[in-house]
């Protein structure tokens, strides 16, 4: 259903084409933007893609209420302002918001816990779409369930809108650690993989692929709380393929310089002197909230399952 074969045998919407765009984003920074002007600042700073949304997570958190897909006019304005890929968010399970975003010709849909879930049981059947999806995950089982549903890219969730990187650290370490565990389990006792698949609550075939290759079958970015060049470089050293920065840029004192500095630190993540240079004179980082101070119902990373 996803894949369309036209008369001249051109195949659109295939897993290869969907995952391929994520491959081209590796080593890069994807930035949340709320208008065309911010999108241009992000592109000028070297963003590999922008995420078009109405409010950054910090504002969603501060203002409360139900957070939904953005107005199509806002998304069009951003699509027309930049030449880099544009992503946009749909609510978890809201397949009609996803249909709308596909009709708007965004390049990637984020089925995101940052918005209010529309379905507390089902995620979107992402296999049905030509446009690729990125989904959040806090652990390997969650990541593999999203991939089974058709996600072509995974981002570890972190805790969006806080500027506190500790949850991002926890989630990327958890996913990478669990991948290493099932690889080791497969090497020492291949039979144990069936039980591992049951424990992970994920399809055996995908678990087997991860165990054999030692990595997810799709690109793994990290998100949620990255606010400084050093945060971004740390995520890369922990094994992320790239980073999403949400509120961290446009809620800081000097967005253009901070955006460029985070791009630089992501690319030079293994060079402490370059990260030091990138960290100089950026002014105030976003103020932030400690995740420990957030009462459990306000933790976005617990949305999605």
């Amino acid at each position: 259903m996803t894949q369309t074969l036209t008369s001249d045998q051109t195949l659109t919407g295939s897993p290869l084409v969907k995952r391929g765009l994520a491959d081209m984003l590796k080593g890069g920074v994807i930035m949340d933007v709320v208008n065309a002007e911010q999108a241009r600042i992000a592109e000028d700073a070297g963003a590999v893609a922008v995420m078009a949304l109405e409010r950054v997570p910090a504002d969603i958190r501060a203002q409360g209420g139900v957070a939904r897909m953005s107005d199509p006019d806002l998304i069009d304005g951003i699509v027309n302002a930049v030449s880099v890929p544009v992503m946009a968010k749909a609510r978890i399970g809201h397949f009609v918001e996803a249909q709308v975003l596909q009709a708007l010709k965004v390049d990637y849909i984020d089925e995101s816990e940052v918005l209010s879930p529309a379905d507390y049981v089902n995620h979107i059947d992402k296999q049905k779409f030509t446009v690729p999806f990125v989904c959040g995950a806090t652990n390997l089982g969650e990541a593999l369930r999203r991939i089974a549903e058709g996600a072509a890219m995974i981002r570890s969730k972190g805790e969006a809108g806080t500027g506190d990187v500790s949850e991002a650290t926890k989630h990327i370490r958890t996913i990478r650690g669990e991948v290493a565990q099932i690889r080791a389990a497969y090497q020492s006792d291949p039979d144990s993989l069936y039980v591992k698949a049951k424990e992970l609550a994920a399809p055996y075939d995908i678990v087997l692929e991860v165990a054999r290759t030692g990595k997810l079958p799709v690109v793994l970015f990290t998100a949620g709380g990255v606010a400084t060049p050093a945060d971004a470089a740390m995520m890369m050293q922990l094994g992320a393929d790239g980073v999403f920065v949400g509120s961290g840029i446009f809620k800081s004192g000097n967005p253009a310089e901070r955006a460029a500095a985070i791009v630089k630190a992501t690319a030079f993540y293994d060079d402490p002197e370059a990260v030091a240079d990138a960290s100089r004179g950026l002014g105030e980082a976003m103020v932030g909230i400690n995740v420990g101070d957030l009462p459990a119902p306000h933790r976005l990373s617990e949305r999605g399952w």
Binding site: D8, Q9, T10, L11, T12, G13, S14, P15, L16, V17, G20, L21, D23, M24, L25, K26, G27, G28, R40, E43, D44, G46, A47, V48, A49, V79, V82, S83, V84, P85, Q102, K105, V106, D107, Y108, T130, V131, P132, V263, K264, A267, F268
Partner: protein, 208 residues
């Protein structure tokens, strides 16, 4: 999922010493190129600093976001060394963003975006439209490596003008998507994603 044809591997003639092919590794689809080059018997070296260019037999400029790679190339001090190396005869393959980087002109650059000017063509970015138009297709290939190539176009550019001495190796929907001038090879698509070795075989064929 892969369209690589077994006979394409014959292109890489076994060598007493494996050629060392650099892959510009600032951003984008780097690992896929390295894997394909190694499957053809070459040694892949990631190029992140000017010193990494020393002793290379060939170079790949991978896909990614062309405006980002351009910016990082300048930040890493790689712009001039890359121009010097390729102008000095180092065989090079640019795919997608790599083609844009090689081009003499970009019809629709992002603000401030530069190219290296190593291939006398003009290119237009995202010429097929948004990701919805990204596609896999098998194209006739007019090179020495084979007769067709399994290509993945991902928000791909096209060549809109070719200068003297630039030969066209492939077209898609009537548009030029692969060109060669001397030892500079530029293609719009991603054989490293489909696993088809034809184009990389062509690069290795240009290596002395």
């Amino acid at each position: 999922m892969t369209g690589g044809r077994p006979e394409a591997h014959d292109v890489a003639v076994p060598r007493p010493e494996a050629p060392v092919i650099g892959v510009l590794a600032l951003q984008g689809g780097v690992a896929e190129h390295a894997r394909l080059l190694e499957s053809l018997g070459a040694e892949a070296r990631l190029v992140r600093r000017p010193g990494d260019l020393t002793g290379l037999d060939g170079l790949v400029l991978p896909g990614g976001e062309s405006s980002t790679i351009d910016r990082l190339t300048r930040l890493f001090g790689l712009r001039e060394p890359l121009i010097e190396a390729v102008a000095g005869g180092l065989p090079v393959l640019g795919t997608c963003a790599g083609l844009i980087l090689l081009a003499a002109e970009i019809d629709d650059p992002a603000p401030g975006q530069q190219s290296l000017g190593l291939l006398d063509v003009a290119v237009s970015r995202n010429a097929f439209g948004s990701q919805a138009a990204s596609a896999e297709v098998t194209l006739p290939w007019d090179g020495v490596g084979g007769e067709s190539v399994r290509a993945a176009f991902i928000r791909a550019p096209i060549v809109t003008r070719t200068g003297p001495g630039v030969e066209v190796l492939a077209r898609h929907e009537g548009r030029v998507v692969a060109v060669r001038s001397g030892t500079v090879l530029g293609i719009s698509f991603h054989p490293e994603l489909t696993g088809d070795a034809t184009v990389h075989g062509e690069l290795l064929g240009m290596v002395r």
